[in-house]
Symmetry: C2
Subunit: 318 residues, 2 copies
């Protein structure tokens, strides 16, 4: 026990003994066994995190905010990616639970019923991040993607756009993008009765998806504004317009989402929506830690969105 105390750095060992123990531990290259520790104390200082993907800035930013916060509170985070597959999420949650984590973080709200049941019944705090709902599994921090879509729509309508289109990932892939499209649709339907065309190329990365989706739309219709799942797709779209000799914003408007790094060096500022991803990570992690420590926190925290008007859409109603 003195060894255990010395190594854990708790009281009850004289400085002399502690020094001797630590020296011996070093000499014999002692490595503690976290499994035994976790077994004995019946919990771990792990936070399990589920993300759709490591690709892209969005989740990297959120993750960065979370990890910072957890690290400085002495928690380790273990991460898995689901590649947008709810079954992969479920199996990750099962595996996680077997490690007795201190907390669990899921991305979004689209889970298998079994996942929800499993988590509701366990005493482990759960954070849902990125998306927003008033009825989370436990707590949630995110943005309202439907509202984000409405914001873009309202902006476009106010600038006089009437033939909107949307380029997205394959259906079911990203439910947040679907929610934004819904918001966009509802605004256009309500305010000027216009339908929103959409293109969802099946393959490729964000850039080529944006490019291909735009090509599809331009081939089959003549939208006056195209909104994209994110800034990278919007850039792909921009390149497509450029090749086809369309001027932006004179001939067509382009709007992205997320205000990604790329946009900071474009010759024309991109119309987009700023999302506070780092802050979201920090807020989410902080709230989850509070929950873990038994402090009561807001169940549901929506983060603000900011529409950033840029030079890829008209400056005023034409």
């Amino acid at each position: 026990m003195s060894v255990s105390r010395a190594i854990r750095g708790v009281d009850g060992v004289s400085e002399k003994t502690r020094a001797q123990i630590l020296k011996i531990a070093r000499d014999m290259k002692y490595v503690p066994n976290s499994n035994a520790r976790s077994l004995a104390v019946a919990n771990s200082n792990l936070i399990g995190i589920s993300l759709p993907t490591f690709a892209g800035e969005v989740f990297a930013d959120i993750l960065k905010g979370m990890r910072r916060t957890f690290d400085s509170a002495g928690y380790s985070s273990v991460i898995d990616t689901t590649e947008y597959n709810p079954d992969a999420e479920l199996s990750w949650v099962r595996r996680l639970l077997s490690w007795q984590p201190a907390g669990i973080i899921l991305t979004g709200l689209d889970h298998r019923p079994e996942t929800v049941e499993l988590l509701r019944e366990s005493p482990i705090p759960v954070l849902e991040i990125w998306d927003h709902t008033e009825t989370p599994i436990d707590i949630c921090v995110g943005i309202d993607h439907y509202k984000a879509g409405q914001m873009i729509g309202a902006h476009a309508v106010s600038l006089g756009y009437r033939r909107p289109a949307f380029v997205s990932a394959p259906r079911g892939h990203d439910t947040r993008a679907d929610a934004r499209l819904e918001g966009l649709r509802d605004i256009f339907a309500r305010d000027c009765g216009a339908a929103v065309l959409s293109a969802r190329p099946e393959t490729g990365n964000s850039f080529t998806t944006g490019f291909e989706g735009t090509a599809q739309l331009l081939d089959s219709a003549s939208p006056d504004i195209i909104c994209y799942l994110n800034d990278h797709m919007a850039f792909g779209g921009l390149m497509c317009c450029q090749i086809r000799g369309l001027s932006v914003p004179e001939d067509i408007g382009i709007a992205g989402f997320n205000q990604l790094d790329l946009a900071s060096v474009l010759p024309k500022t991109l119309t987009t929506v700023r999302t506070l991803r780092r802050l979201m990570g920090i807020t989410g992690a902080t709230n989850l830690l509070a929950r873990i420590n038994g402090v009561s926190v807001e169940t549901s925290k929506p983060l603000p969105l900011e529409l950033v008007p840029g030079e890829t859409t008209r400056l005023q109603r034409s």
Copy 2:
């Protein structure tokens, strides 16, 4: 023991008993305890991975390749990012070792001596990925970044460029980029006695670093070709040239690295070097698994590089 056997799915229980046990387990919402299991069997099926960062495509690609391979072999991977800080890597390795992982993966070759010592003395297989050396801690799979720099240099020299420059991250941040710069320098020094200027902006993301670095170089000198740490920086540089009214490749050549997704939608193909990151992840993971299973593998596996000539450099010697 029958319960243990039934749940683990090993022989020695009748199908009837197994079914009963599994039913009861489900009814009582039994969750296995991995800590106890790992303690009893004195190992875990974890692979610990250390990456510099989650930002950017490069490590996401490598990771994707590795995770695929590990997942299908029944191993879970736990990941940490060091943000290019070797001390963070050391503390991660310490924490990892306390979990008795089946294997450990580090990025690059730049480790604290203590990290190397710790790993050399442990029986746990270690893979160093992304960089290449003949003398790894245990095994390694990667590319020769010095040679990559030489390839770019040789290509530039052959096209008649004589006033080279390089835009990179802050010194010490990315030792691979430093190695590439060395390769570039040595080729230019040897073949035409030209020195390579360099710019290393302190702040910002890849795009702005490329932009700022280019601005610095153009303000203080007149390079005829600028090479970049990666394609994203090269794009930043491209935008800077565009704003200053410089034509590429007529007035200045631009070369990137890594052949990133962005390049696939640019109007001019980017001169770059293709790196097989997904393959690297798969190869690395496969070799590490073999090592874990006691099968002997190549200690040191270099992956091929391919120079991709593009339209951002001259097409032939002018």
